[in-house]
Every structure is written in C-alpha cells, then in structure tokens.
Symmetry: C2
Subunit: 512 residues, 2 copies
C-alpha cells in the first residue's frame, strides 16, 4: 500500500521512514513513540531515550517523546505509537511514518522574556498558544509558561492578548440571536449539578442558551456525564445548531466541538501543580465562552478553605478581572459567590445527580432545597444580566418558571430534541455507611467524598456513586445512615467500603 | 519465591500486589509503569492513564507515571516497568511490587509560596530538594520550581539554603589535605578538554586535586569519556581515595559517587527550557564541588553570543555571586572568563581530544596552542588561588611544570594508579570535508559541529568524531580540507556527510 518512498505532510520525501504499529497504549494526552535503540533511525539521527522527535504521516504531524527498547518487544523496522500519537497522525495499521529532529521551538524565547520581566504582546501569545495547540510543548514547557504567568502576573493587556490567542486557536460558534446566555462553575463541588436546571429555566424564558459541558476529568461526574443519563449529549455541530434553533437551549458535550483547545491542555498541567493564576483563570474561562458565542455569562464561584478561591478579597479581584476582560470582547460577566464548604444536593455520581435534577425540575416536595436554591440564584442572575428580569427580580422570575412547570416542559423538549429523553439507570448494589457515634455533623470532605464515589464506579458506571443523607450541622444518632453507596458489582462496593473504613472522618461528627 | 502477601519497604502488607516484568524500555530517567486498563488495581484504585502512582518493592519505592494498555501486550496480573523504575526498585525478574496512590507532595506548597513572592527558608529548600532526589517530582513540578527561581530571583540567603540542601541530599567526600583544588567549566565548547592537563600540572606541584568528571549528556564527549581512552575512570570510592593518596590527583567518572544528585535531575530540565537562572547556576556548580570536598575552585566561563553567559556584565554578576556563596561554605572561588566563540583544540570526540591532551602534556611542537594556553591559564589561576604561586606568577609556574616534563610524568603515574595507561583507539574510516570556496573562516558553529561529531559516532564510538584543520580568521583555498570526519563504519561516515551537505555553513567562509 505504501511504496518505499512515500511523501509526508510537508511534501518532503521520507528519508527516515519506519512502519507504525499500535498496541493500545493509553498515555492520556502524551504522544509517545517506542523504537528499538539500535534501529537505523535512532543511530543515524543520534536519538537518545526521552528525546523529543517529530513524527509525520501523510496528512499530519506531531512531536512525541521517544522511549528506546532494547529487548525483543519491537523490531528494528517498526515504531510503536501511543494512542494519542496514533490518532493525531490519523494512521491505519501498517502505514509508514517519518521520524526526524523537530525544528527549534522559537516561541520558548517569549516565555524566557516573560520570566525575565518583560511584557508580552499579541504576537508572542499567538506564537505560544499556537505551538501548544500544535502539540509542540512538553510538560516541561507548559509548566514553565504557567509558572511564569503566576510569578510575573499578567496585566490587563496581556490577559486580553492571551484570551484572544486562545479563542483564535480553536473553532468559534455563531448564533442568530443577539443575546446568548452562558454559565460557568469554577470550583469542584461534588453534586453541584445546577446547569441542566438553569438551561431549562433560561430557555423557557425565551433566552438562547446553547450550553456545551465537559465530562469528568478527576471528579465523579461532569455535567455531560449526568446529562447523558437523561438524553444523548454527543451531538455534531449541525445537530447542536438544530436543537438550539428549535428549543433555544441545549446541554451537550463540548468535546465534539473544538472550542479553545489550548485550555484543555493547560488545565491538566495547572491541576498537577495546583496553580491557578488570576490571568490564566480569566483567559481559560472567557476563551471557552467567547468561542461558544456567548454574550452574557454568569459564573458560579464557590469560596471555601479548600476551594480554588479561598477569600472574598480574591473573589472580588477575580470578578473585576473577568468583567473588564469580558467587556473588551463584548461579553457581559457576573460572578455569583457561593458557599464552597460542602457538596450540593444529595446524589454524587451521574445518575444520582440526574435524579436530583429531575426532582428540582418536577418540583417534587422532597427535592434538595440547596440545589434548587442555587439553580434559582444563578438563573436569576442570568435573567437580570440579560435584562429579561429587572434588578433583584431575577430569582422570583426563575422560581416562577420552575414552579409553573415551564422549565420542566422545556427540559423535556430539549431532551427530545437531543435524541430522546431517558430514565437514569439505578444501581444493583446499595449499602449505607452508618454513624459510629451520636453528635452533630461538623464537616464533609469534598475531595474524599468525591473519591469514595469514584471507587464505587462513578462516572464510568453511570448508576454508581453515593447518596448523602446528612448536611453540615445536622444532628445524627449512632447507627444512623450518613450516606448510601451505590455500585454495580459487589467488588466495587467493597473497594468503596475499604476506603471508607480507612477514612472514617470523611463525614466528621463531633459530640457537643 | 514470593508468597501471596509479601510486605514492602514501609512494612505494610501488599494489598495491591502485582508481578513486575521487564522489557528493556529505556526512558532515560523517567519511572514509567505499564498496566492493563482493566486490571484489578487500576479498577479498584480508580487509576486513569498518566496518573502518578507509588511503586514499592521490598526495599525501595519510587513514584512512576502510569500508562494503561488495552491490547494483549500485557496481562491483568503483571506490570511492565521502565528501566529506571526497575533499577530504582532493585527488582529481580518475577518479583512482586505494590501499587498505590502516592501521598500528597507537601513541598509543592513551598514552590507556590516562592511563585507568590515569598522568601523561602532552609527547611523549605530541604523539603523541595529531598522530594526531588526521592524521585517524587514529575517534569511539571521540576519545571515549575526552576521557572519560579528564575522569575523571582533567589537572594543570597536563598541561594545559600538551596546550595546547602543540594549538598546534604547526597554523599560528601573528605580529604586529609588542608587544600583541595577543583575546576569547573560552565559552557559547552567542543574540544575544551583542559581538565586532564590542569590536574597533571596542579598535582605535580604537590596540590591535591581529586577530580570527578561527567560523561557526555548531549555533547560529543565528556571529560570522563575522553579520560577513559587513556585510563580506567569507573573507580569505587575506596579506589579513588587510594589514587589520590598516592598521586595527589585523579580524573575519574563522578557517576560512581553520589555528589549533589539533585543537580543531575535539575540540569536536564533546565536544558529543555534553556533556562539558567543565576541562583540555580551557583547552587548547581558549588554544591557538586562542596560535596567533593573542594576548598579552592577555578571556574572556566566562556562568554559568547551563543554561550550560556553572553555578556561581561552577566559574567561579573555570576562571579560575584559564586565568590560570596562559596565564601560562606569555606570554598575560595575564582572565575576565569574565556572566549567562547569557537572550539578549543583540534579534536572533537573522546580519542581525538585525548590525542590533543597528550600532545600538550608531551610538549609536542604541533600541540594545539589554544588548548595549551587555556590549560596554563586555568592551572595558573588555581596555583595563585591556593597561594602556591604569587600574584601573576601562576601561569609561569604552570608552564614550567608542563615544559619541565613534571606534569607529563604525573599524568602517567595517575593513569597507572587508576588501573593502567591506555593508547586511545584510532578510527577505521576518515574523510575530509573540503572548502567549497576560497576566503577566510568567518565562524565555526559550536552546536552544529558537535552534532556532526555525534553523527559520526561520538561518544559511544570512542575513536569517532572530527578533527578541525582551521580556526576562525584562517585563510583557506577552495578544495582545502576544513576538517576530517572520523568514524568506525562507512554508514556513520555517510550520516555525518549527509548532515554536512545539508549544513554547509557549519564552518562559514567569506570572501573579503
């Protein structure tokens, strides 16, 4: 199929041509290539292990990390590619690739310039973000850029330039309506699943809200995972457009549309160093929303001792930055601060959260009051921001949309338009975790309760997770269920209980 | 051999036990573990691809990057380890390891503190450097630390604390003599092989100089590679001590002794981002020398447009920093600035450089004058610094030691003490690169001429490399040999000539 001298993406002949092989090696995002240490390309190019090498197929190219194998795993005439490298090169089995030294990364000089205290202009940020989206940066380069942005805080013009570069590096969506509402949540509170409710309320008021959401990365559920138990979410751009034209809103997975792809790459590294500089956070949030075509944006900002934003002062500075940068792009932004000290709602995990969402939308008497109230507050803020409701009238209008059944009707129509409404699955195994003493609930650890839900199988098992029966401040008696773990298999239930037994203070109780 | 429930380095039972397998995967330094995506540990621990995981054997532990495999490469009951992970865990084939979540990296909070502009104290640097040497930091963490040190330059006390932490994190050598001379070269000039000559001169004057040197990392030869063509260099600590007691000096590979191991880890990342902050450079240089027991240190500092240090001003600031930090550790330091615009000597590659070293030591009339002069200047500075020679007398004393044959006699005795003097090998293939035009040599590209020598096979093929026949400013005629490429196989000669043909300006000639 391939002759001895194929040509590659840049039209050059394939001097360093080698057969590509696939072994199903998931490296998440990292492009890795395995070659025999003694193969001709490694010898002639003088490659050493862990070198960065340029891989080219007929249509694509990517920079990969080279690992060298000495045993019999790999022949001298073949290169094994990790899944991200394979997919990026759009290869078919047996195809040849070219391997060579990559060109020097000129944009690194801008990062050094930033480190040494100089201001960067538009073109510098475009060069950096362009190289990041092209997969040219290693973790070392990405971390250096993010650290430099935190140590030498970006000024207003630099954040503008960074945001602009991030928007330009991906696709953009455009909508016929003049007002496009959007919502973003900063922190990672388990169970904080307000988005489907807010979209239903806002769209039922006639305001366009085409919401693209993410799947879970490290949490037990993302909005896309939860929504998927209620309707299909993996829609092509044309289908998203059709749903929004019909119903004025949608809740779909954003992965199918390529909005601000640099953000996805940078967020992963920020998480590893637990570093969120204000400038990066503003560019990250706003670039996604600008690319999605939003004109009015409400941001849910939980403040708490273990949240991303830990003080009111930091929240105010971030809110001011978001407003001023948003303004420059014609995006009206309002930050709504919230309590970030415990989970929202009762369910944690896709189907259990969907159950809470349905309860609020259907105005069930037993619906979680905190989830309802938070959704009303955020929807109300959006209704005021878009001037659909007058000042301080937003929450009342949002509550009417819920209580009058209009939001629930709208949500069902959106689900039908996305491909048909579904009933969330229920788990095969349930077992309660009991209070070991009587007293009052002092605290609930957001991070570890999320981990417990993941051990039970969330988000891959949609029905798995857990159901909280208490909130901070509640009085409990010894032996009373604090929460119920939901799982599909007895083994997963056991993993979760092993973890709970070793972490008895996830829900901590004190005797007054 | 291993029961179902072995215990591990921390004495814990091996709940997450799995059989370790080795496939000869060279990842250079990175600990990588490959496990089946559906294996019990990945499922029960909730591991995702590219997670950082803690691996424990009976005696050791290491944090590794997890790659998940879906195909048949790997069974559900086994984990494939990269060579660095395998060696660090001191495993034998078929042994079991435990895999679990690593503890949170508390020292990252110090890096964030540094980023946000706070001063770090002794304990913070000890915590950071300790975690680095323990293999806890990923590339992301290392890069963040180095970038922060450059963006928020470390002050004098911080550089002291960093240097101290780096010394403490490894082994230290102690010597009976009161004065211990040492030498360091900052830049990467090809052929700059003064060290064996300097050690011979200084030791012949009765001053102790126990020199530990490195092998090439990215260059065509390190001092240890060159010296190895003249005598064994891989000596155990006891043997190094015996050689130095007998002869007052040695030139051995430093890899066998564990001096400032954090430096080796940090240097690799600095190279990837091309970032050398003054504080890091001072700590890097001095920690190695303090750990080696040095009291008097001369530093060869090439200055040039493509060298690490690019201006006299930067050189002076670095020299002042080195002197003041060195002082605090009782280490007298002198910086000798040098021209960094072209290679030193004629040979590039282990054996060809050794030939130049021997020619200078034997006072051959054809010995490279620049190499001789540079060695005399640096040895002279050391003789003055140690008060063996009076002010401005050092070079004359050094020249006498060379011209009187004492240095050559000392060098032969050192080689014998290290295990026996050897004759450097000669290459099987030689071919000149000819001038394509007449004119004058305008410049020689240090980086690309080093790459040419590597393509010919240096440093793995000790005889390979190249021999320069011209220097900057020389008049050449069309067809005259500019240099001769040495290789062991016709294929390697061809690789080098392909590269030379594509890079005709490595030695650039202009017609006046």
């Amino acid at each position: 199929m391939n002759g001895p001298h194929p040509t590659y993406v840049d039209g050059s002949p394939a001097a360093n041509s080698i057969r590509a092989r696939r072994l199903g090696i998931d490296t998440r995002y990292e492009a890795v290539v395995f070659m025999h240490k003694e193969c001709q390309i490694c010898r002639s190019e003088g490659f050493t292990a862990h070198a960065r090498v340029l891989l080219r197929s007929k249509n694509q190219q990517v920079i990969a990390t080279l690992y060298q194998v000495t045993g019999g795993l790999i022949g001298h005439d073949e290169a094994i590619l990790s899944e991200p490298a394979w997919q990026r090169l759009e290869l078919t089995e047996g195809e040849s690739i070219a391997v060579s030294h990559p060109a020097p990364l000129d944009s690194l000089s801008h990062i050094r310039s930033l480190i040494y205290g100089n201001q960067l202009g538009e073109s510098a940020f475009h060069a950096i973000i362009g190289d990041i989206v092209d997969g040219q940066y290693s973790d070392i380069h990405l971390s250096s850029f993010l650290t430099a942005c935190a140590a030498r805080p970006l000024d207003h013009n630099e954040v503008l330039a960074l945001t602009h570069a991030m928007v330009e590096a991906g696709d953009r969506m455009a909508w016929p309506a003049g007002i496009i509402a959007d919502k973003h949540s900063v922190g990672g509170l388990p169970g904080n699943r307000t988005t489907p409710i807010i979209v239903a309320i806002v769209a039922s008021c006639g305001i366009t809200m085409p919401k693209t959401s993410s799947r879970a990365i490290t949490s037990p559920a993302g909005t896309a995972d939860t929504m998927e138990t209620l309707a299909p979410v993996q829609l092509a751009t044309a289908d998203i457009r059709r749903v929004v034209e019909c119903e004025g809103g949608c809740v779909v997975w954003g992965g199918a549309v390529n909005l601000s792809p640099a953000d996805d790459i940078l967020i992963r590294v920020e998480r590893a160093i637990d570093l969120d500089s204000e400038g990066q956070m503003i560019a990250s949030i706003l670039s996604k929303k600008i690319a999605a075509g939003a004109t009015h944006l409400v941001i849910d900002l939980p403040i708490g001792p273990t949240a991303k934003v830990r003080s009111d002062q930091a929240a105010q500075a971030l809110a001011a930055g978001l407003a001023s940068v948003g303004d420059a792009f014609g995006l009206k932004t309002k930050v709504v601060s919230a309590d970030g000290s415990e989970p929202v709602g009762r369910g944690i995990g896709p189907a259990l959260e969907a159950r809470d969402v349905l309860a609020v939308l259907k105005c069930d008497p037993g619906a979680p009051a905190d989830l309802r109230q938070k959704a009303i507050a955020l929807a109300g803020a959006l209704l005021e921001l878009t001037n659909f409701a007058g000042p301080n009238q937003g929450e009342a209008v949002a509550a009417q949309a819920l209580d009058g059944g209009r939001a629930w009707a709208k949500f069902q129509r959106i689900c039908e338009a996305q491909g048909g409404m579904r009933t969330p699955p229920t788990s095969r195994q349930q077992r309660p975790i009991l209070a070991e003493q009587s007293g009052r609930v002092r605290a609930i650890d957001n991070r570890r309760i999320g981990r417990l839900a993941k051990l039970a199988g969330a988000p891959d098992d949609k029905a798995a997770g857990l159901d909280l029966h208490v909130r901070v401040g509640d009085r409990v008696e010894r032996g009373q269920p604090l929460c119920t773990v939901h799982a599909d298999a007895p083994g997963e239930l056991a993993y979760a209980f092993d973890y709970a037994a070793a972490n008895r203070d996830i829900i901590s109780i004190f005797e007054p």
